[in-house]
Structure formats: structure tokens, C-alpha cells
């Protein structure tokens, strides 16, 4: 038996080795294996370690007095290990993928710093989930943000990337300020920065403090997770980053925000089974459904493939939050079984989203790396040149759309069941609100499928829409392999939900009734009958047997028929070309029109005509744009009011020494008067 501690140290060591060898590789030919092989092995060890923790005992470690007052405390329990498992799983696949993907950087001699940052990024995420002291938690948390920021602006020649990087960094820092406040409230109550003291002392906090701890942590971690309306950084940062980094960020990093929320709610905030806390859950549910619907609405009209995926991350975070919120509501009303159901739903979706979003971002990265464009208006027809990438992307797309029998369906099924179980809550107003919250939720699932029809269809199917995209080849084998791992997990977690449920219930120390892979997942209703059942393995058996049967049946029925290939019907007008195809913008036009209140779509038309006559047009360029209501209604006013304030303040520094002396005089007199008057009174 290797002890847990050593297993914990090995991956850390490996990531450090990866980081350093990245720096030392000096962009040589060996750079890629030197960087990514350690990170792959490190990820494997992370997985092994986390499974060891989930099935075995917790790890606790204290290194005192590194800094005054703060001890470096490490604590890995099932919850941490669960998230560590996600980190390990995705980073393994991404590392493998990166061997092929980062060849471009090797050619450009820029891989050294990338390798360093990449390894440190994964390491920082592992350290965040395993730290047990608010100070060190924040250090690793900010390290994670910082390193990911550098990765986001890795292609820093583009001004746009710098801007999105800045937005990201500032938003995440704002979030950190809230997290800090939440922790400090705990410190003020307990007098210690250790999470242990929060854990033990939190039940004794006054209710107001408990509420504040929760709200601040929710805002702080929610910023990182990308919940609405703090999501603005996410659709900017993820497309700017190199795709393997986007995969890590979207699949894993934003989940760390979820981790933080779970930790705070269930560990530090003194949360308990009392209706006082039901509003926490309702807050989570409402913000979650808002995030889900808003995220997916932006995703469906998006033309940038990576930004669409980023918006879809916001949507999925929303779904996770809904599950989490329901769990909180159920717990506060002492409905343990349903709380478990909702938490399983939420966590199942967490791991699912990590897997399929990682897969999709890698797929998008493959597309971008061969076509050099992120705009799906220019893509199309890649399924012929890139059969593997398209197949894997399709698996990801089906999974994320929540279609059976892949993993997305399972978690959405759980979440829907949790929503339906809300009728157990002994409060009519909550029942009705949750029922209404299921409206945006269901809308989300519907539009998500549309989004991925659009993304997959426009990218991979029919004919290419741009003449520049020629000579496309399938991506290198390592990239395909990296994607296949996650695709396999998608299928596995879809077909055998027992894997997921048992993982979650063991990690979170809950009892969930499913006892074997073939056992039915079931939800009981109030009269003890089965409310809902699901057994995906059997469904898969039915699906496959039906398909075999029907294939045989049709074969017998049809006898021998021929297949002829001919061009698509063109209404007899002559050959179809790519300009006649439906474009992504027109594909999503109906949805844009239906939700025009939200999108406020408007066209900008530029006409160029021959000579004087305005009717003899040479070119017409029409651009369809939507308004980003969050930036316009929320962020722009805030920023401009700050700038207004800055502008007023800078008037103080007039350059006139007389004014400066006057300030001193006024300060002095005011302070003296203050003393004088406070003494009289």
C-alpha cells in the first residue's frame, strides 16, 4: 500500500517537473513530450489518488508557520477528491490532446512558457480543492486565475485577446473579493482562518452572519462559475484562450467555483435543516435558471464556435446550480432523500459537463487548428475530411443536448426529477416557484439541442462556405486520442449511470439506492409507488436489438435495391453552390425573432452603388447584430459612472501649487474643527 500522502505528492511533483521542464526545454523539439508527458502521468496519479480518497480515508496534513498566523493545511475528503477526479480526468485527456495541438507553438518557438503555465494551471486547481485554510485557498485560487489569465492572453498580439483577458482578470478578482469577505466573516466569528474552525464553529454563527457568508460566497464563487449576471468574462475569455486551455477552463476551472459553493454551503455557513435557509436554495434555483436560459439564448445565435461553447458553459452552470439549489431547499425542509437526488443531479451534471465540454472544446480546437477560423459562417463540410473529429464532436453534441443514451441525459433526467419532486415541499409558494423555474429550465434543454444542431451541422455538414478552407486534413492521432477518452467517458457515464451515482454517493457520503450497474434508478412517490424509473443499460439493449431487428426486417422486405449518388435537387436551376446554403445566422433567425425582446436584433446595412444612382447597387453588406443587454444595461453604466468619478478626481490634481496647499489647509482646519467640536459635544 502506498500511503495517500505520497500519492498526493507524486502528482504535485510531476506537475512541477512538467512546469520546470517546460521552462528548461527552450522550445526544443523535445519540448512537447517534456511538458505534456509529466502532466499526463500526473493526471493519472491524481485520478488514482482521488479514487483512493473516495473509497478510502481522508487525507489531512498541516505544515505550520510558513507565514505568520497561517498554516498550510491540506485536507482532501470525498468532495475534494470528487473534484480532483474531474481535474485529473479532463487534464489527462487535454494533455494528451495538447501534444498534437501545441505543435503550432513549437514551430513559433513559444511553447516553453506555455508548458510552464499549463502545468501550473492544473497544479493550482488541484491545490485549490485540497487546501484547508482560507488564506492558502485564496492564494491558490488567485494563482489559478492568474495563470489562466496568462493562458487566455497567450496569443497576445491581438488587442482583443488582451481586452478579454483583462475583463476576465478583473471579474475574477472581484469575485475573489467576495470570497475573501465570506471567509473573513468566518474568521471574525471563529478567530481562525482554518477551514476546520469554520466547520466546527459555523453552526454557532448568528443567522445574519450565516446568510452573509452564504451570499458573499455565492457571488464570489458564482463569478468564477460564470453565473448570470457575473458571466461577462466567460464568453470573452474562453474563445481567446488556446483551445486546450479553453477546454481546461470551461470543463474544470469553472467547476472549482461550484466546489467553492458546495464547500461553503454545506461546510462553513452553518447551513442546517431549517426553513430559514430555504431562500438560499431558491436564490440558487432562480439564478441557475436565469443563467441556463440566458446562456443558451446567447449560444444559439452565436457565430463564433468557441464563444457559443462558452455561452453553453454558462447554461450548464445554470443547470448545475438549479440542482444544487433544489438540494439546499430539500435539505432545509428535511427531505433528505430528495436532497440526495438533487445533489446527485447537480454533481452528475458537473462531471458530465466537464467531460463533454472538454470534448467539445477540443473538437472546436481541432477545427480551428486546421481551418484557422472560429467563425462557423466560413465552415462546413468538414465531416468528409475530418471523420474522427466530427464523430467525436457529434458524441459531445448529443451528450450536451441531453439526449439518451449519453451522459447528459442522465443528469438532466435527475434534475428534472428533482424539479418534479418539489411537490413534497410543505410550502405552496415554493412549490409553485420551483414549478415555474422548470419552465426556463425546460426551454433551455430545448434550445441547447438547437444550438448543437447548429454548431455541428454548420461546422461539419454540407458544403464548406468559404473558399479559403481547402486542403483540410484530419488532426494528429494524439488529438483524436485525447478527445476519444472523453467521448468514451460520455458514453460510459451515459450507458452505465451506476458509475456516476455510486461515485457521487460515495464521495459525498450519501446513501443512494442504486446497488448495481443493472439496478433501476428509481424515485418513489408519496404513496410508495415508483414515481420514475430509469435503466439505461436496458434501454441500450432495446435500442440495439430494435435496430438489428428493423435492419433485418427492412432487408427482408426490400430485397435487393440499388443506391445511386446524384447531386442535391436544385429545382432545376443549375448547380448549387455554397452561397445558396443556409448560413448559421439564418439558421437561428427564427429563434432570434421569437426572442427579439431579449436580443433586440438589428441590421446594419452598407450599400455601395454605381455612380449617382442609388438603385444601381454594386454591393450590399448586411450585418445582423444583437444587443448584449448585460453589457448595455449593467456593466456600461457601472463602468461609466466610475470613469465619471475618476474624471472628477483627476480635476483635483490641477498642477496649481496653490490648490495643493489649500487642500492641506482645509484638511488641517477640518480635522482641528472635528476635534474641537467633538470635544464640545
Amino acid at each position: 500500500m502506498i500511503s495517500n500522502l505520497i500519492l498526493f505528492q507524486i502528482p504535485i511533483l510531476l506537475f512541477v517537473i512538467g512546469a520546470l521542464s517546460g521552462l528548461l526545454s527552450r522550445n526544443s523539439r523535445l519540448a512537447r513530450p517534456m511538458i505534456f508527458v509529466p502532466s499526463m502521468i500526473g493526471s493519472i496519479f491524481t485520478i488514482v489518488f482521488s479514487i483512493g480518497i473516495i473509497t478510502g480515508t481522508q487525507l489531512k496534513l498541516v505544515i505550520p508557520h510558513i507565514l505568520p498566523l497561517f498554516d498550510l493545511e491540506i485536507f482532501v475528503d470525498g468532495i475534494s477528491a470528487f473534484f480532483m477526479l474531474i481535474i485529473g480526468l479532463v487534464s489527462f485527456a487535454v494533455s494528451l490532446y495538447s501534444i498534437g495541438y501545441s505543435k503550432e507553438y513549437e514551430i513559433q518557438k513559444r511553447i516553453s512558457a506555455f508548458g510552464f503555465l499549463f502545468n501550473i494551471f492544473i497544479l493550482s486547481m488541484i491545490l485549490v480543492v485540497s487546501s484547508n485554510n482560507s488564506f492558502f485557498f485564496l492564494i491558490f485560487w488567485e494563482l489559478m486565475s492568474l495563470v489562466s489569465f496568462f493562458l487566455v492572453i497567450y496569443d497576445h498580439d491581438k488587442e482583443e485577446n488582451l481586452k478579454s483577458g483583462m475583463t476576465y482578470l478583473v471579474m475574477t478578482h472581484l469575485g475573489t473579493a467576495f470570497i475573501f469577505t465570506s471567509f473573513v466573516l468566518g474568521y471574525v466569528q471563529t478567530g481562525s482562518f482554518s477551514f476546520d474552525s469554520f466547520r466546527h464553529g459555523s453552526t454557532g454563527f448568528p443567522l445574519l452572519v450565516k446568510n452573509l457568508v452564504f451570499v458573499f460566497a455565492f457571488i464570489g464563487f458564482g463569478t468564477k462559475a460564470g453565473m448570470v449576471p457575473l458571466h461577462v468574462w466567460l464568453p470573452k475569455a474562453h474563445p481567446s484562450a488556446p483551445s486546450n486551455v479553453s477546454a481546461l477552463m470551461s470543463a474544470v476551472m469553472i467547476k472549482i467555483g461550484i466546489y467553492g459553493m458546495i464547500r461553503t454551503i454545506f461546510d462553513f455557513s452553518g447551513f442546517g435543516a431549517s426553513p430559514d435557509f430555504a431562500w438560499w436554495g431558491m436564490l440558487l434555483v432562480s439564478i441557475g435558471s436565469a443563467s441556463a436560459i440566458i446562456g443558451v439564448l446567447y449560444a444559439v445565435v452565436e457565430r463564433d464556435i468557441k464563444r457559443a461553447l462558452a455561452f453553453s458553459s454558462i447554461e450548464n452552470i445554470g443547470i448545475i446550480l438549479v440542482g444544487l439549489g433544489l438540494s439546499v431547499v430539500f435539505t432545509s425542509f428535511h427531505l433528505t432523500a430528495f436532497a440526495v437526488l438533487a445533489l446527485v443531479a447537480s454533481m452528475y451534471h458537473t462531471i458530465n459537463h466537464a467531460v463533454f465540454k472538454g470534448l467539445l472544446f477540443m473538437g472546436a480546437g481541432s477545427v480551428v487548428s486546421v481551418t484557422h477560423t472560429k467563425n462557423i459562417e466560413h465552415l462546413g463540410g468538414l465531416v468528409k475530411q475530418m471523420p474522427w473529429t466530427s464523430l467525436l464532436f457529434l458524441i459531445g453534441a448529443i451528450s450536451i443536448s441531453g439526449l439518451p443514451p449519453f451522459n447528459g441525459f442522465i443528469s438532466e433526467w435527475f434534475t428534472l426529477q428533482a424539479l418534479l419532486s418539489s411537490y413534497h415541499i410543505p410550502s405552496t409558494i415554493l412549490q409553485i416557484s420551483i414549478a415555474f423555474a422548470s419552465l426556463p429550465f425546460a426551454l433551455t434543454i430545448g434550445i441547447a439541442a438547437a444550438t448543437f444542431v447548429k454548431l455541428f451541422g454548420m461546422t461539419f455538414l454540407s458544403k464548406t462556405r468559404s473558399k479559403n478552407i481547402v486542403n483540410i486534413k484530419e488532426v494528429p492521432r494524439s488529438m483524436i486520442l485525447g478527445m476519444s477518452i472523453l467521448a468514451a467517458v460520455c458514453v460510459l457515464f451515459g450507458v452505465v449511470p451506476y458509475l456516476g451515482t455510486s461515485l457521487i454517493s460515495t464521495a459525498f457520503h450519501m446513501s443512494f439506492q442504486q446497488s448495481s450497474p443493472l439496478d433501476f434508478i428509481s424515485v418513489q412517490n408519496s404513496s410508495g409507488k415508483s414515481f420514475a424509473n430509469l435503466s439505461i443499460p436496458v434501454v441500450v439493449i432495446i435500442l440495439s436489438s430494435v435496430s438489428i431487428a428493423i435492419f433485418g426486417f427492412i432487408r427482408v422486405l426490400s430485397g435487393h435495391t440499388k443506391k445511386t449518388t446524384y447531386s442535391t435537387w436544385d429545382c432545376g436551376f443549375g448547380s448549387l453552390n455554397e452561397r445558396m446554403e443556409y448560413t448559421p445566422t439564418s439558421l437561428s433567425q427564427p429563434i432570434r425573432a421569437v426572442f427579439k425582446v431579449f436580443f433586440k436584433p438589428h441590421n446594419q446595412t452598407e450599400k455601395e452603388s454605381f455612380g449617382e444612382n442609388p438603385y444601381l447597387l454594386k454591393t450590399v453588406k448586411v450585418e445582423t447584430m444583437i444587443k448584449n443587454i448585460f453589457e448595455e444595461m449593467l456593466y456600461t453604466p457601472i463602468v461609466s459612472s466610475f470613469v465619471f468619478f475618476f474624471d472628477k478626481v483627476r480635476k483635483l490634481q490641477t498642477g496649481k501649487i496653490n490648490a495643493y496647499l489649500l487642500y492641506i489647509m482645509i484638511t488641517l482646519v477640518l480635522l482641528l474643527l472635528f476635534v474641537r467640536l467633538s470635544n464640545n459635544g
Partner: protein, 221 residues
């Protein structure tokens, strides 16, 4: 006896204030220097009175030093430095607040200093009672001159008023117990004046003017 002594103290303080007002009320540099010289002479007289009242002999030395440095050396230095300057540099043409208003504001500042000082218990120390508000008023007036005037020269004068106030203040409160420190302060002031003279010179050479309005390049707005 005590009342007489107190009257002397009060009257000398009043004379000092009047001398200070003289600086506020004048426009030309030479007038200021003269007013400053008179003020310094009054100041050394006041110092001598303090010496007489407290009976500490070091204060006489301080009084002598004041007389020498402030009424002779500093005016000399300033005259020497500004001798080459053209005459319009030495005239304060447009202060932010007119001379009349300045005098009124100075009076208000005197009132303010009395108001602020009231709360401090003086243990019936007559010297402090008499001179502390006066010295405070000098600070504020000096500061006001600095704020109000637009030429570099008048700012130096403002600084000098503040220093005089400071000196009186220190004398009144401490009766000059630590001579070493007094001397340190003197030296500092002297060096300060020297450096500001150098700067004055530089400014007139570089900017061809002594208007602080020229010194507004470094700013944010």
C-alpha cells in the same frame, strides 16, 4: 505685577500680528522683505520678553540669533538672489483673493486660531496664553499667503511667515529648553531658504518668469 506682565505679553503679541498683516497687505517684493524684517525684529523682541519672563538665558541667545538670521541674513540672501530679476517679477499683480479680502480673511484666521486653541488648558502659563494663538494665527496667515499668491517669491515669503510662527510657537511652549534642536531647526530653515533661492533662480532662468502659473505642466486633468 502679573497683570502688567500679561499686558506686555498681549501687546507684544498684537504688534507681531500687525507686523504679519503688513506682509499680507503689501504687493511688492521689497515691501514684503521690509515687512518681514520688521516682523522678525518684533519676533526677536518677543523672544527676549519670553527670556525675561522665564529667566532662561538661552532664550536671549535665540533672540539674538533671530535678529541676526531673520532680519539680516535671510533678507540679504533673498535680495542677492533676486537682484538680477526684472522688476515685474517682483510684483504680485493678481492674487486669487484681493488684498482687501486677504486682510479680512487673515482676521478671520486669527479668530479661528483663538477658537481652536481655547480647549487646551494652559495651567495659567501666561506666555502660552498670550502667544500660542498668535503663533497659530501666523501659521494660518502664512499658509493663506501661500495659497493666495501667484508668484514664487511671495510663496517664499509665506514660508517665512510660517517659520516665524513656528519659532514663536516653539519658544512660547518650550521656553527653548533644547537649544540643540532649536539650532537644528534654524539650520534646516536656513538651508531650506537657500535651496528655495536656488530653485527661484532656476525657475526664473528656465521659465523666464516667476509666476507659479508657469509651473502647471505636471498635472492630471
Amino acid at each position: 505685577m502679573d497683570t502688567i506682565q500679561f499686558d506686555i505679553l498681549t501687546i507684544s503679541g498684537a504688534i507681531l500680528l500687525i507686523a504679519t498683516f503688513g506682509i499680507v497687505a503689501t504687493r511688492g517684493f521689497m515691501d514684503w522683505l521690509n515687512a518681514y524684517r520688521y516682523q522678525s525684529i518684533v519676533l526677536s523682541g518677543v523672544t527676549a520678553i519670553i527670556g525675561y519672563v522665564t529667566g532662561i538665558w538661552e532664550i536671549y541667545i535665540a533672540a539674538g540669533l533671530t535678529l541676526v538670521i531673520k532680519s539680516i541674513i535671510i533678507p540679504k540672501v533673498l535680495t542677492y538672489v533676486t537682484r538680477k530679476l526684472e522688476i515685474e517679477f517682483k510684483l504680485e499683480t493678481n492674487p486669487y483673493v484681493s488684498i482687501r479680502a486677504s486682510v479680512i480673511i487673515s482676521a478671520l484666521l486669527v479668530a479661528l486660531s483663538y477658537f481652536l486653541i481655547q480647549q487646551i488648558p494652559f495651567k495659567a502659563d501666561q506666555i502660552v496664553n498670550a502667544y500660542l494663538p498668535v503663533s497659530m494665527a501666523q501659521f494660518f496667515i502664512g499658509l493663506f499667503v501661500l495659497v493666495n499668491r501667484r508668484t514664487v517669491l511671495s510663496q517664499v515669503v509665506g514660508l517665512l511667515i510660517i517659520e516665524n510662527g513656528l519659532f514663536l510657537f516653539a519658544m512660547a511652549l518650550t521656553h527653548g529648553v533644547s537649544l540643540l534642536i532649536e539650532i537644528g531647526i534654524f539650520v534646516d530653515i536656513l538651508v531650506g531658504i537657500l535651496i528655495s533661492s536656488i530653485l527661484l533662480f532656476r525657475i526664473s532662468r528656465t521659465f523666464d518668469s516667476l509666476d507659479v502659473g508657469k509651473l502647471e505642466n505636471l498635472r492630471d486633468d
